[in-house]
């Protein structure tokens, strides 16, 4: 049990770090997909099947593909330089990240909540989830439906080509102010 989890966690973390470090963007996304799959495996580990499958369906099936499409659509721009990491304060950023992790880890080890053992068997039933979605959480569910609709329309509108302006995807330079090279 713990061994399986350790392997999964290791793969997940490693691929997450790879996703945030690699130079090649497509590789980044593929690593990200592995991370998402690892997280789904963690859910299955925690005997949350429904959520795990949802995770695979949404993240592996949809979000990563979306990211890939976005990547392929934003190619060929005026990349400033080849260095992908932010050159100015990458050390500060890294430090902040490590500091955050340290603080969180300290908090986790200090907390008394984490001492309790898991109940022996806890099964998630799809029916119960559905019932609590439609009883207790029906209002958030409806709001979410609205949000998804709005997001769908909004994303389509945002990504639509702007016909009026001259800055079509194939024109050479933007007409907007702000020279990006300074």
């Amino acid at each position: 049990m713990n061994l399986v989890f350790a392997i999964i966690a290791l793969i997940t973390l490693a691929s997450a770090i790879a996703a945030m470090c690699l130079r090649n963007l497509v590789h980044c996304v593929l690593c990200l997909t592995v991370t998402f799959t690892g997280i789904a495996m963690t859910y299955l580990q925690l005997s949350a099947q429904f959520v795990g499958f949802s995770q695979i369906m949404v993240y592996v099936g949809a979000v990563s593909v979306l990211v890939i499409f976005a990547l392929l659509m934003t190619r060929g721009g005026n990349e400033l330089n080849l260095r992908d990491w932010n050159p100015r304060h990458w050390l500060i950023g890294l430090g902040t990240g490590l500091l955050t992790f340290g603080v969180m880890a300290t908090g986790i080890f200090k907390s008394s909540l984490t001492r309790s053992a898991a109940p022996d068997s806890k099964t998630e039933s799809v029916k119960t989830i559905g019932e609590s979605l439609l009883n207790e959480y029906v209002l958030p569910l409806e709001a979410l439906a609205l949000l998804l609709t709005v997001a769908l329309i909004g994303a389509a509108l945002l990504a639509m080509p702007e016909r009026k302006t001259a800055s079509s995807p194939h024109s050479d330079r933007p007409q907007t102010k702000g020279d990006p090279t300074n």
């Binding site: 593929l30 429904f50 079509s168």
Partner: protein, 392 residues
């Protein structure tokens, strides 16, 4: 029933042979190996049948040289594929190039794990089985992308992007039309869906108005999902050579082929499970014939239907394909959900049947009329060409 019980007890006996620690693994292998071998064999048979049938449709013989009537053609094909040179393009990403067909095959085969082949004959019994099926199916898109991207070939990349766009678009009506069945059965578990259709041909879901429309939508979406003709644009030879498979050869190509067929089998098995009563016999008298037989019979019938469609239908254009998915399939499947809701709230019966039929037929005719009025078939738009012209 007797057949399934026999199989299960047999498996338990065999598992006992293994040492204690290996029993779970052994049990899993005993569940999977028959399924995989059955579908592998089916793959061989179906490729031959497809070529023969297409030949008949096109007024020619089809393979008839190897063995009597060409029945050993699959074996010959296999040998040919295995002995061909495996070419990896120089600039391709070797690891990803290798892993793509395997990933595709794995996703296709994993889908079979939740299909109930008979009473209690299901490899893994998940409570959210159908969700698993679709989730794994979603991962196939990623495999297609990896194949296209790792090849470092423009045709391959374009083909894979087309395939992904198509699969994502058609996944929505696919899932929505199966949701209708889940609503009626009240469960996400496929064995329970099959149980809900027990009792002969008249209780299959295809005979309800929503089931009928849902089944048709599901079949169309399935065609698109497995890139079969008339939705085989990603592999349109005349446009994209072979799509994401352009840079593959030899055994990897064969694996692509196998994955595609297994995916088709899995989808057909799911169709049969959702709408055609799964492993149930059409008449209660025929119950003595084991369930797997019926499931495979239905599956093969559907596959033959697909081959027939491939032989008769011309290929769609890419923009028409997407318009069809978003403008027709999606509204119809949403409408089908509404109809299902009405059906359930009316509690079935003749009245509900009439209401549902009227709702669905009205939606179909009204919507298709509206669509055909609003958009006559338009010439293909070359946006890139137009805009450059405008800029010049």
């Amino acid at each position: 029933m007797w057949f399934e019980d026999l199989l299960i007890s047999l498996k338990q006996q065999i598992v006992m042979i293994a040492p204690e620690h290996f029993r779970p693994v052994f049990s899993a292998m005993l569940s999977t190996i028959p399924i995989l071998s059955a579908f592998g064999g089916l793959f061989a048979v179906i490729t031959l049948v497809e070529r023969k049938m297409l030949g008949r449709i096109q007024n020619r013989y089809g393979p008839n040289r190897v063995g009597p009537g060409g029945i050993f053609q699959p074996i010959a094909d296999g040998i040919k594929m295995l002995t061909k040179e495996d070419i990896i393009p120089f600039s391709a990403n070797q690891f990803l190039h290798l892993i793509a067909p395997l990933l595709l095959l794995v996703t296709a085969m994993l889908g079979l794990a939740v299909i109930p082949f008979g009473h209690k004959l299901v490899a893994v019994e998940f409570e959210a089985g159908i969700l698993f099926f679709f989730a794994i199916g979603g991962a196939a898109e990623l495999a297609v992308f990896i194949a296209g991207w790792a090849s470092r070939n423009k045709y391959a990349l374009l083909g894979s992007l087309r395939a992904i766009a198509q699969m994502i678009s058609y996944e929505i009506p696919l899932v929505l039309s199966s949701v209708a069945v889940l609503m009626a059965a009240g469960s996400l578990s496929l064995p329970e869906v099959v149980e809900a259709q027990a009792g002969g041909i008249q209780s299959w879901y295809i005979w309800t108005p929503w089931g009928f429309l849902g089944c048709i939508l599901f079949l169309i979406a399935t065609l698109a999902e497995v890139n079969r003709s008339p939705f085989d644009i990603p592999e349109a030879e005349s446009e994209l050579i072979a799509g994401h498979m352009t840079e593959y050869s030899g055994f990897k190509y064969a694996i692509f082929f196998l994955a595609e067929f297994v995916a088709m089998f899995a989808m057909c098995a799911l169709t049969a499970t959702l709408f055609l009563g799964g492993f149930h016999a059409p008449l209660p008298i025929l119950d003595f014939i084991p369930g797997p037989f019926w499931l495979f019979a239905k599956l093969i019938l559907l596959v033959l239907l697909f081959i027939w469609i491939r032989g008769t239908m011309p290929r769609l254009r890419a923009d028409q394909l997407m318009e069809f998915a978003w403008k027709f399939m999606l509204p119809m499947s949403v409408m089908n959900l509404v109809t299902t809701g009405v059906w359930i709230s009316l509690g079935g019966g003749v009245f509900a049947w009439v209401v549902g039929a009227v709702m669905n037929a009205g939606a179909y005719f009204g919507w298709s009329r509206l669509l055909s009025q609003s958009s006559r078939v338009k010439p293909r738009v070359y946006r890139y060409a137009e805009e450059t012209k405008a800029n010049v």
